[in-house]
């Protein structure tokens, strides 16, 4: 058995101790030629991954990257076997990439074929092609290993990546791929986003949706091939999914999401490569993906509107406002008389008493401090009147316009009274 997951990431003689000067030099591409190359290469990969990943995400094809990256394996193995048999240098990167690209495209076409001609769903089609192609790749790899004992070491790197082995020509390749992907995305942006958002409309408007889909998938293939070298077969999937998913939290505008995904992808490539050059024994690919993962988690939690904190805050505010509504109505109820049997009959969870609600009433200027139950201010009374009025309005509406008995209207009135404005209630 070969030794453990050897993802050797020791970049050009990694420093054993941390220093700020070292960090600064790494951040500004001055920490040695090799480090600068790796940092530039992975940042460019991240940018390309973010750009292309956004399209795949919007098309709900995120996991096509998964299938595509696994489908490169048989091509890489076959290319190696064929090239060696023909007397070429089997491990030459362009040959392996060409082979991988061909089987990846075949995989995409096979998935489209299954979707078009069978009743299998997208997830099943992707999983079938992913596993079958990868299984074929594994079979071919065992042939490669038994036929050439000394040379297969380089092929292992394709599964787990080897950023440290990046050469200047690899970085140029990465750069041209990133620029090429950016150009294609920029040129076809309108058509591609139209396909992502409403493929029926795009088809009706005469756009070749099949070709545009194929364009997106070819971009995914290109990025995957570029990324396999640096971060490996599995982690390149992350470069295609994670930055795009993170960017999606920050905006509802597709241009901003796309640019942001490119920026976040580039940032995680940059940060990950630098971190692994600064600290000993940090595999570049893994650290890059973990940086992207950290960015994702931050976005998930912190993003305005779509973030978890923002959502929780919004819900809390709503709950408080509902509780205040109930409290002011309860405080006025004895004086204004019964409100058609509703406040007593409602048993929704929102009616559970909230501690310090009276304190909150005072802070909001809805009540004055007093002994026993608080005395409402004018604005408190106005709020109670508005809620009761909205409720009355809704119950009237349901019973007059929709023919629903008043006794059945309470359930929806419980929900509606908090959001219905008196002036908007009646047409």
């Amino acid at each position: 058995m070969t030794p453990a997951l050897t993802i050797t990431a020791s970049l050009s003689s990694p420093p054993s101790t941390f220093s700020w000067a070292e960090l600064f030099r790494a951040l500004t591409f001055q920490a040695g030629h090799n480090t600068a190359l790796v940092v530039a290469g992975t940042a460019l990969l991240g940018i390309a991954g973010g750009l292309v990943g956004t399209l795949a995400l919007l098309r709900k094809r995120s996991l096509m990257g998964d299938a595509i990256s696994h489908a490169t394996l048989p091509g890489i193995g076959l290319a190696f076997l064929i090239a060696t048999a023909l007397g070429f240098q089997g491990r030459s990167v362009p040959i392996l990439m060409l082979g991988g690209g061909i089987t990846a495209i075949l995989g995409v076409l096979a998935i489209q074929f299954l979707l078009r001609f069978t009743r299998l769903r997208e997830d099943a089609a992707i999983a079938v092609i992913l596993s079958t192609f990868f299984g074929l790749g594994v079979v071919i790899m065992t042939v490669v290993q038994s036929s050439s004992s000394g040379q297969q070491g380089g092929l292992r790197a394709y599964i787990f990546g080897q950023a440290s082995a990046m050469s200047a020509s690899d970085v140029w390749l990465m750069a041209s791929l990133a620029v090429g992907a950016a150009l294609i995305v920029a040129l076809l942006f309108k058509e591609l986003t139209l396909t992502c958002f409403d493929d029926e409309f795009a088809r009706a408007a005469g756009w070749p949706v099949g070709l545009l889909d194929l364009a997106i998938m070819s971009l995914v293939v290109i990025v995957t091939l570029a990324g396999i070298q640096a971060v490996g077969l599995v982690l390149v999937i992350a470069m295609l999914i994670v930055p795009a998913a993170a960017a999606r939290f920050w905006s509802e505008r597709v241009v901003i999401v796309t640019l942001l995904a490119a920026a976040l992808g580039g940032l995680s490539g940059y940060l990950g490569a630098i971190a692994s050059s600064m600290l000993d024994r940090l595999p570049t690919g893994g650290v890059i993906v973990l940086s992207a993962g950290a960015i994702f988690v931050l976005s998930l939690v912190l993003a305005p509107r779509r973030g978890v904190l923002a959502t929780v805050a919004r819900r809390l505010r709503l709950r408080l406002s509902v509780a205040l509504d109930h409290r002011v109505v309860a405080l006025t109820a004895p004086t204004t008389g019964p409100i058609t049997g509703s406040t007593t009959g409602s048993t929704t969870r929102a009616h559970a008493p909230i501690p310090f609600i009276d304190l909150l009433l005072r802070l909001r200027g809805l009540a004055l401090p007093s002994v026993g139950s608080p005395a409402l201010t004018d604005s408190g009374r106005a709020r109670a009147a508005r809620v009761a009025g909205a409720r009355q309005e809704w119950e009237d509406f349901l019973s007059h316009q929709a023919g629903i008995p008043r006794s059945h209207a309470a359930v929806s009135a419980d929900l509606v009274e908090h959001v219905l404005r008196k002036d908007g209630a009646r047409p």
């Binding site: 709900k60 995120s62 069978t118 299998l120 769903r121 998913a245 024994r281």
Partner: protein, 468 residues
């Protein structure tokens, strides 16, 4: 006595093959519900995401012994499932994206942990992928047939095989006991919820079983076989049957068949071609499963491409034959004068097929070639044609009277609808019983004999076959 060649097989090949077949069986059975619930890629996600769990178990216990490793993998399998559902709901992402985010980050975490903390751990990456099925020997393989089940022989059965046997029995029992709940939750989870079956709980149990069998299987046979067997047999069965019970049975058969065939091809196949080394058996099983699926895609009697094309061709020929009969009938009505309703018959191939079918059914006979179409209706053909034209004109009347379409807009629609002459079309004639169509042509009387309703049946068959 057991001959040496068979003894050799028992020692070196039986246990790997058994391990693969059992792994394929238990993942294949559970996979049916993943495919139905559109979560086929869960196996993929889980098997990538077990890496940090394995490393963590190693760090905590300092050993590579089985149970800590299985526990670590099992825990991270469950964590993966929970995280995917959490990210999906909190982030409002689609399931695929959530899976991709979770498993790739967890895999990266595992890679980094190995490098930072547990570099000395002998976790073989290739072993995780391909498994180590070839190393499962039956050490005490019996010499005599009557010793096969003796305690001494059985004590030599590798632990991985026993684990997988237990797992396969558990998976089978799980599916058998909770069949009703699983089926309801997979097909209509809202109904399941309203009937009080707790589909969320059923789903969680299913995911736990998937995680457990993924973990139990990948140690012996590698993750690639697990991913494939969770989806390929179920997808193949889905193309062969329309009932869940038979789908489960077929998927089990496909899983076992790919296990056995793949092992034979992988272990012995290369020797047939003069190679001295065998290839990865688990990879080969995956390929066999893929080939079986592809065969089903092409040749399944109900959902295969060939069968569906043939069914559509049958419909097209029937339509073309009926159009031919109607054209001849209209020509007779006009006594040979060319009319506006005449249409060129469909393409050459379809037209000649339709003509041949009509002649074979005795509906037309060859006629002097001076006619525009060198065919003449027989009595039987005239009866059939009358019903087609009657339906056509009734439809035209219906479209004009009830839908208010203009008279010059209804012919093409009626051309298509005239082929549907079943119970619904029989109700077309309202109480007024029109005698002429909107263009003034007489509507022939209804037939006294019940007519064969071939085409409606054909179309209905094809539709029901292609429901998602």
């Amino acid at each position: 006595m057991i001959p040496p060649s068979i003894h050799n097989f028992l020692t070196t090949d039986l246990m790997p093959m058994l391990a693969c077949v059992l792994a394929a069986l238990c993942t294949g059975l559970l996979g049916n519900f993943l495919v139905l619930r559109r979560m086929s890629l869960m196996g993929d996600a889980i098997s990538h995401a077990v890496l940090p769990g394995l490393v963590l178990a190693f760090i905590l216990t300092g050993s590579r012994s089985t149970w800590p490793m299985l526990a670590g993998a099992g825990v991270s399998g469950l964590v993966t499932v929970a995280l995917v559902s959490l990210v999906r709901r909190l982030g409002r992402l689609d399931t695929g994206t959530a899976m991709g985010v979770v498993f790739s980050i967890l895999f990266a975490l595992g890679v980094v942990m190995i490098e930072r903390v547990a570099r000395q751990v002998d976790l073989d990456a290739e072993c995780v992928l391909y498994g180590a099925a070839e190393t499962l020997f039956w050490l005490n393989a019996p010499d005599r047939w009557n010793q096969v089940l003796s305690a001494d022989s059985l004590s030599g059965v590798p632990r991985q095989v026993t684990t997988l046997l237990v797992m396969a029995i558990l998976a089978g029992a799980f599916v058998a006991v909770f069949f009703k709940e699983l089926r309801l939750a997979a097909f209509d989870s809202a109904l399941a919820a309203s009937l009080g079956f707790r589909p969320g709980l059923v789903n969680a149990a299913l995911m736990a079983m998937v995680a457990a069998s993924t973990v139990a299987a990948f140690e012996a046979v590698g993750s690639i076989l697990v991913i494939a067997m969770l989806v390929c047999p179920a997808a193949t069965a889905r193309l062969l049957t329309d009932r869940l019970r038979s789908q489960l049975l077929v998927s089990a058969i496909v899983a076992v068949a790919s296990g056995i065939l793949g092992y034979i091809l992988g272990a012995f196949g290369p020797h047939w071609f003069g190679h001295d080394r065998s290839v990865s058996v688990t990879g080969m099983m995956t390929v066999v499963a893929g080939v079986l699926l592809f065969t089903a895609v092409i040749a399944s009697p109900s959902h295969g491409i060939v069968a569906r094309s043939l069914r559509r061709l049958a419909i097209a020929v029937t339509v073309a034959r009926e159009d031919l009969l109607a054209t001849l009938y209209r020509a007779e009505e006009r006594r040979g004068a060319p009319g506006p309703a005449d249409r060129a018959l469909p393409g050459k191939t379809l037209g000649s097929l339709a003509r041949r079918q009509a002649i074979k059914r005795g509906e037309v006979t060859p006629a002097p070639s001076a006619m525009p179409i060198p065919l003449a209706l027989t009595d039987k053909g005239r009866d059939a044609a009358r019903q087609i034209v009657r339906t056509h004109r009734l439809w035209e009347d219906y479209l004009v009277t009830n839908l208010g379409l203009r008279t010059d807009h209804v012919h093409d629609t009626a051309m298509r609808l005239e082929h549907l002459r079943d119970a619904a079309a029989a109700r077309l004639a309202p109480h007024t019983a029109p005698t002429t169509d909107p263009h003034g042509s007489p509507i022939p009387p209804p037939s006294t004999q019940p007519s064969a309703q071939a085409i409606g049946h054909l179309i209905r068959t094809d539709r029901s076959r292609n429901l998602p």
